[in-house]
Chain length 643, copies 2
């Protein structure tokens, strides 16, 4: 079973849709446990943070100059929006009256803060009511709106309640009256993309063509001349050159989107932009725009993505830099950016029905996303380094090698919560008579196909073991296609159903048959430990390997291996042993090997002609996502390889 | 000939003094040419920069609020002071009436800006006259004063003119009335050390015991409780915690100086502090303070110094970080800090009469200092990376991989000029009936000993070849000791005079005899290419070697080796060939070797299980000091070594 095909234009092939969250249950296993932690702990902890920092009270619009109240920040609505969205997913998964009451209260406050013309923003309405929509470049106004729209859609889907959805439709009406291609409207767009993808979500719920049209407009107007940000700067009486701040490419506004051949600028913004563009392309059948998204995606995964699925190589601008520039210690790899890549990949998976996209989604999820949250679910990384020395990180400032409970700019914690709560939508896709299993995890998914109500249930220890048993329950026999993803990292995968072996195309083993109750597929994904090399143009990984097993990237931590991790090298011939440890981190598979450790120079000199003495040393690697859960210490993903 | 001795307490052994600059002539050779370039080009170019940026006009104190004149910056006097100092050294070396007239004009302006009570500072006198001496922590007031004192001493020594010296003595009187241990005086000290070492220089010229006492006071009061910076902050009505800004260790004010076991904080400040402390210790016979300096020096060279002699591992605070933290790409290694280390080492060499200190001086000079200036002498590095990718440096901001003509904070260019103009003082030391040759370069030094006027003349192609012929001219026979430094990097050195071979002690071959006119010593310092390893705790150098030959550290540049320098590895067995190239960079020895280059993955994937294919590749290394003189490109000092 192997996959020699490559993706081409999709023509008129219909797309999949993400599985409706309500129809998926994750139960146990690594992903299920992470989701459980979010539902049981993170959502409450984040509510408390939002409350204690004034983000909720800000909706009362009580702040005044000279007031003792904390001044509402331009980001705050988005934090609250993502908290609502995560609560909505939690309520979709299981009832929780206390949580629902809490959301209802916040929604009431939101509704109360809405201005007569529909405008809604706790910063501008209280602090600078005369400045609204005057600085889209820097002030995240439509970004906040977009997150509120996503939350409204999610809460409507979770509860059937319309209040927040109606509030947000009125706000979108206000935005639509202000911005767009029509006469008298401004040709602006937000410096931080989000509204585009949110409007497509809204359109899918409302069916209102204006919502999709406005999303498409925001994509199309971006980066056109004259630059909107210049027009606005001039209106504020500033010469463009004096406006200062980041360059256009930081905002993905240096070129019209369809002309952007590479992903540039702030990583989260870029990924939100291309996800929105992909969703617009799928909704409108815009092949040119879709081709732009394919190209952007390839630029990311083939040139600018860490092995963990993290993106954004520098803290300076939290941004993409240039091809093959992937420093490990100073990696930014913001948690939000890994989430954004996973969600862009989810869209592309469903549009292209191609496992290469789901491969990137899985890579980001298991590594650069999960690493963002402590095992306890209440501490978070904003930046996800691939090598850490806590002392170095301390001297660099603002870049700690330790998870924090919250941040002044707190985008990552609620983004983690909403993403992990909605994992079911990534795990399965449906459409065109097909069910695709994208992620393997103990779970079940129920859907209707050909007059049959079907439940597929996965039994698996994935990602610790590669065997997945898919059990089909069906109310009636029906002919449809099950697609089981064969990860790009996997060689020698086998799937068997009734003794037959399906073919793999575009990253999925496809089984088309009349499925009956009790059918059973056994998928085996061999999971040897792999030494992964980076293209030699990645200068920081030269001569090094990353240990991986299945979808997991591993790292060395000081807790297991002592300090000076770069003094360790792993001989090419060393066998690496995988062993499941039930007690560590709630149960993980660790890797051990015989390695070589260079000894400090005994004479106390810093430099000398003779190379260091060495000794043998056993090393232990743990999954990257679990690092920094045992106190401060060094960590490295890329390990020096020696002969 | 070898050196098995180690340094111990020096007891009452008298110290050397730096050779008086007037008695040294550098002529040709690498150091002589670099000094020639400073004399012929840099001093004029820097004068023009000082003039065009308003640094000279600032002395007219004409700036007023609302004025169109550039507002005098708190650093400006120090830039001008270092320019005067470099001009003074140029005038010491050779007459230059136009330059002298230019300095006289600046001195007149300086004198005119002096306040009735002696105070002198172009920023405070014009901009905030009521704020003088209120924020020593941040505002560089005594730092500027120190540089002006150094300039005044140098100009007096160069010309015999007293005007600037008198002006500065009056200013020092004003400082002495304000600060000190006595009743009614403030117990302050400057956030940026410099005044301490300058006062020792002034004392050597004036013989005024108050000058030395004030220097000693500033050393002794530093870091004592209650912290002076806190006292001042409270006087300004600020709680200490609210004062913000850097921590005490940034200013070397976290502990009394004698209790500082490691070098901490801003690298230039730390090196200026310990140089000043060493000079005070030598002048006062303070063995405890000297021991502090020995310990600090050892901490630098054994734990915190780049192989280039650069110090300061991070741009964040331009500071020392922690032992073995020496990242290459983000190295700060400010040019001023390498100069400061060299000058600290000059002091320690003379006090300790031990070649280990001169080794560090030579290392810094030939590498981390010379790299700060373009071959043309008019462009400068502030930070001296040990690995560069111009695209990375651009994204990091404020850290270019290209020399600049000037800087807003322009400390480095005039520091380079004054240091290179005064190199003669580093090359030779005298005292206690000894002449020490610390640096090898075509040069001569004239001094009086035992009733004889002696001239020693070096004939050498050092650092390109290791043979040095020292020719002695003497007006009469006299018995004295010639000490020829045997660098720490050198094995198998031989020195011969009349067929006899002197013994090496404390890094110098000592020849005590009755020297006669025409005597001749032939020193041979074998200069094989060396592969230098760093202690394995230097995590960024693990598995790598730096190529060195003699005192020079080499690097690979893109101009010779193409891009992706980290895709290159140098097999352990590869022979490295040194060849002198007369046309490159005005004549340098380059190194070539057969190496291995890893090829990009042909399939376009970023990560794969199989390691890269390789091909053989010839590499060429050039002296580090000469890098970035052929356009923008990658550079690396530390080269991956393979079997």
């Amino acid at each position: 079973m192997n996959d020699g095909t490559t993706s081409g234009p999709r023509g008129s092939r219909p797309a999949w849709e993400p599985a409706p969250l309500r129809q998926v249950r994750l139960a146990g296993g690594l992903l299920g446990e992470r989701q459980r932690t979010v539902l049981d702990r993170s959502i409450d902890q984040q509510y408390a943070q939002c409350r204690d920092t004034g983000r909720i009270d800000a909706l009362r619009l009580a702040w005044k100059p000279g007031s003792e109240l904390p001044k509402p920040h331009i980001f705050w609505d988005s934090d609250l929006a993502k908290w609502i969205e995560s609560a909505a997913y939690a309520l979709t998964i299981e009832p929780n009256p206390a949580l629902e009451a809490r959301v209802d209260e916040v929604v009431r406050l939101l509704a109360g803060s809405q201005q007569p013309d529909g405008y809604l923003n706790s910063h501008y309405s209280a602090v600078e009511p005369d400045k609204r929509f005057t600085n889209l470049r820097d002030c995240h106004e439509l970004y906040c709106a977009g997150h509120l729209v996503e939350a409204a859609v999610a809460y409507h889907e979770a509860t059937g309640k319309r209040e927040m959805l109606d509030v947000m439709c009125r706000y979108v009406d206000c935005i639509d009256r202000t911005f767009g291609p029509g006469p008298g409207k401004r040709r602006g767009y937000d410096g931080h993309e989000e509204i585009e993808l949110a409007l497509v979500r809204l359109w899918k719920t409302t069916g209102d063509a204006r919502h999709l049209a406005l999303a498409k407009h925001f994509i199309d107007v971006r980066g056109t001349r004259p630059y909107y940000f210049d027009v606005v700067a001039r209106a504020r009486g500033k010469a463009v050159a004096d406006d200062g701040g980041p360059r256009y490419d930081y905002f993905q506004a240096h070129l019209p989107v369809r002309e952007q051949a590479t992903v540039e600028g702030h990583a989260v913004r870029a990924m939100y932009l291309f996800r929105g563009a992909a969703d617009v392309a799928a909704a409108t059948g815009d092949e040119e725009l879709l081709q732009t998204c394919r190209r952007a995606f390839a630029n990311v995964v083939d040139r600018r993505m860490y092995v963990t699925g993290g993106v954004g190589s520098t803290r300076h601008g939290e941004r993409f830099t240039y091809d093959f520039d992937l420093p490990n210690e100073s990696a930014y790899a913001e948690t939000c950016a890994a989430i954004a890549l996973a969600l862009f990949a989810r869209s592309m998976t469903n549009i292209e029905r191609d496992g290469r996209y789901a491969d990137a989604m899985e890579r980001a999820l298991y590594n650069g996303v999960l690493s963002g949250m402590s095992l306890g679910g209440t501490r978070y990384f904003y930046a996800n380094s691939l090598a850490a020395d806590p002392r170095w990180h301390e001297f660099e400032g603002g870049f700690p090698a330790r998870r924090q409970e919250w941040f002044g700019c707190a985008c990552c914690p609620p983004n983690l919560a909403r993403f992990l709560a909605s994992l079911g939508t990534c795990a399965y896709s449906v459409g065109d008579g097909e069910l695709a299993v994208n992620l393997y995890a103990p779970s079940e998914f129920t859907f209707d196909v050909g007059g049959s109500r079907v439940t597929v249930r996965q039994e698996t220890s994935y990602p610790w073991e590669g065997r997945v048993v898919v059990q089909v329950g069906a109310s009636a026999p029906a002919r449809w296609t099950m697609r089981l993803r064969v990860p790009g990292w996997c060689e020698g995968a086998t799937a068997r159903v009734d003794g037959r072996e399906p073919r793999v195309r575009r990253g999925y083993a496809a089984i088309t048959r009349t499925w009956r109750d009790g059918d059973r597929v056994v998928l085996d994904l061999p999971m040897p430990v792999r030494r992964v090399h980076a293209d030699p143009r990645v200068r920081h990984d030269a001569g090094r390997v990353a240990l991986t097993r299945g979808p997991l990237v591993y790292c060395l931590e000081e807790a297991d291996n002592g300090r000076d991790l770069n003094a360790i090298s792993l001989p090419q011939a060393s066998a690496i042993r995988a062993r499941h440890e039930r007690t560590l981190f709630g149960g993980v598979t660790t890797l051990t090997a015989e390695a070589v450790r260079e000894k400090p120079f005994p004479g106390g000199e810093l430099y000398r002609d003779r190379g260091p003495e060495t000794r043998r040393a056993k090393i232990t690697a743990v999954p990257y996502y679990a690092w920094a859960n045992r106190g401060d210490g060094e960590m490295t993903v890329w390990i020096r390889q020696s002969r």
